[in-house]
């Protein structure tokens, strides 16, 4: 594998959890809910994946991760949507709670000193034919099943948002909740479901981190990826396809920092570490004014 292919493969691999989480957040934000709790849902998903995979293999891990993400976001949905608490504060609290909870459960399940778990993982599943495409084939089609699931989910989200009446109601709830309510959309219910979808996808993102990437669990291992996913949603202008491109862009920048550190000797590594954030700033500055947040985003 040459260097370019290594880079592209790493970019897609690193982008997968970001993409899954960002897609979920896109649905929630289009419904008018900004959920900072997805960092916590992702972490819970990571632990769920570890527990599930320990008990019954990687597939059970994926299921447990989705369920864990769902549970955490249910907590957020009840407080922030049902009881209309401030979304930013609720989301932050949910993430902090998830950090503590996952740490406690992990230490309880695997011992306080940490054993350096080695979990059964989802292997690389090359798509026959497609993975032979020069340059991009390997990167896009020799990944784990969760990456392919993410591709499908991009299409599903797009279809859900733009081609179903439920999606129309959801976007209306996010743009102008009062008007949506007046025209018969059950805003609270739609938002609740949107947040739960977002949580399930964040859980799946945690699963891809654990089962498709590292094969182990560690406390706080999401390391801010949930928050990066929220930035990706903005960068992608709240549109599933553009969000997917933004996630890939972020994945590429993150993969690049390690390749640069390994191959470009003698350049201060701090320059590479700030690369993803620097690039985001540049792209956001370039995209300014061309996209607009949902009108009622964050209003409870």
């Amino acid at each position: 594998m040459d260097l370019l292919e290594t880079f592209l493969t790493a970019a897609v691999r690193v982008a997968t959890p970001l993409l899954l989480a960002a897609l979920g957040e896109t649905i929630a934000e289009r419904a008018g809910v900004i959920n900072l709790g997805i960092e916590g849902a992702m972490l819970a998903g990571a632990l769920g994946a570890a527990l599930g995979a320990t008990a019954g293999g990687p597939l059970l891990g994926v299921a447990a991760a989705t369920a864990a993400g769902l549970c955490i976001s249910l907590l957020f949905a009840v407080v922030a949507v049902r009881f209309r608490a401030n979304q930013i504060i609720t989301g932050t609290a949910v993430t902090l709670a998830a950090v503590g909870l996952t740490g406690a459960i992990y230490r309880d399940a695997y011992g306080a000193e940490g054993v350096g778990l080695s979990l059964p993982t989802l292997g690389i599943l090359p798509v026959p034919g497609l993975s032979r495409i020069p340059v991009l084939g390997e990167a896009l089609f020799a990944q784990s099943a969760l990456t392919y699931a993410a591709y499908l989910l991009v299409a599903c989200c797009w279809w859900l948002l733009y081609r179903t009446s439920w999606g129309l109601g959801l976007r209306a709830a996010g743009e102008a909740a009062e008007h949506a309510r007046a025209s018969g959309v059950a805003v609270a219910r739609v938002r609740m479901i949107a947040v739960l979808i977002g949580g399930a996808l964040a859980g799946l993102a945690g699963a891809s981190l654990v089962l498709a990437q590292v094969g182990t669990f560690a406390e706080k291992m999401t390391a801010g990826r949930g928050f990066i996913a929220i930035a990706i949603v903005v960068l992608g202008g709240w549109h599933p396809v553009r969000v997917a491109l933004a996630a890939l862009f972020f994945g590429a920048a993150m993969a690049l920092q390690f390749l640069f550190q390994s191959f470009l000797l003698g350049v201060p590594y701090q320059l590479f570490l700030m690369l993803p954030y620097l690039l985001t700033l540049l792209v956001l500055a370039g995209a300014w004014g061309r996209t607009r947040a949902p009108g009622d985003l964050g209003r409870s």
Binding site: G114, S118, T216, F217, A218, A223, A255, F258, S262
Partner: protein
């Protein structure tokens, strides 16, 4: 929001001063770690040390985790305010906060593991882990087939940089043409980053790895395990069990032993703040080869490593390697 914050701070101050009145003369030991004690390395070693203090000396112990500088200072202050006799700030990053807190609490002994200088009742424990990393580097330099070795660091703290430099120097001693590569992750938590960094380094041709990235290094171990001809050297604890077929050895700090030494002295009374510096000579710092893979290391290389260890020990006159106060 600001008012809420202010109220909380006032409440905390009041509570803090209450606990100060409840000071007991009982000897208690507190530990503040900068990360999770489930990292199978730096922090879990400290926690094991704390448990040994409890079991061997029969004293009450307590542990908290504090990541940000503000939290770390607050954690030290809380222990001191509760009348703890001995408080460990587990890492170089605690030096400044321990010095500030110590001014208010002269009766508490603050020990900064991997600290840099003595200040009043603040004592640094200096671990010359780089002496062991040097020996690990020698093995790596002698064993590398590709001639490229790699170091994965968490954050570039002075002790970590020292370990990296010693690892490279050790490798160069056995193979002057060795190509050293390194990656800093800027985090000790991000396991996926530890793995991605290792995958990039493998692509760059590295076949011998060493790290000082605590929990994030778990991902590095995973990457090494998955690639056919790469080996890794553990740090801080004997990490052979993480990948028994791929860990050639570990640069070990016997934290429990060091912690117990200090706590015993402090409990006996008359503890004088001083630089406690541990190297290979003390037995607290060791290079522990993985017994399962020892046969793969050629005998002349093993002999060279032993000779180097002996000469480092012989050269250690007990003078401290601490840098003077700035």
């Amino acid at each position: 929001m600001m008012r809420l914050l202010a109220t909380t701070i006032c409440a905390a101050l009041v509570l803090g001063s209450c606990t100060k009145d409840n000071q007991t003369s009982e000897f208690r030991v507190g530990l503040v770690t900068p990360g999770s004690i489930a990292d199978a390395a730096w922090n879990s070693g400290a926690f094991a040390g704390l448990q040994q203090i409890r079991d061997s000396l029969g004293v009450a112990v307590s542990h908290v985790e504090a990541r940000t500088p503000a939290e770390q200072e607050e954690a030290l202050r809380t222990y001191a305010a509760q009348g703890y006799s001995l408080v460990f700030g587990h890492g170089f990053e605690f030096q400044g906060s321990a010095e500030r807190v110590s001014q208010q609490f002269p009766a508490t002994i603050f020990v900064v593991t991997s600290g840099e200088r003595v200040a009043r009742n603040v004592s640094p424990l200096i671990f010359r882990l780089h002496e062991a990393s040097y020996l690990a580097g020698m093995v790596a330099g002698g064993m590398s087939r590709t001639g490229t070795i790699a170091f994965v660091g968490g954050i570039e703290l002075p002790p970590i940089k020292l370990a990296e430099d010693a690892w490279v120097a050790g490798a160069r001693r056995m193979n002057p043409a060795i190509v050293p590569r390194s990656t800093y992750l800027n985090t000790f938590d991000d396991v996926a980053a530890g793995r991605e960094a290792a995958l990039a380094l493998l692509q760059a041709g590295a076949d011998m790895f060493h790290h000082n990235a605590d929990q994030a290094a778990l991902g590095t171990f995973q990457a090494v395990k998955e690639s056919p001809a790469a080996f890794i050297f553990g740090a801080n604890l004997d990490q052979s069990s993480l990948a028994p077929e791929r860990v050639l050895g570990s640069a070990v700090i016997d934290l429990p032993r060091a912690f117990l030494t200090v706590a015993r002295e402090a409990k006996a009374g008359g503890f004088v703040p001083k630089v406690e510096s541990f190297g290979l000579r003390s037995g607290v710092i060791r290079y522990d080869p993985n017994p399962a893979l020892l046969a793969t290391v050629p005998a002349p290389l093993q002999a060279a490593v032993s000779a180097a260890r002996d000469s480092i020990i012989a050269a250690d006159t007990g003078a401290t390697a601490a840098r003077p106060a700035q």
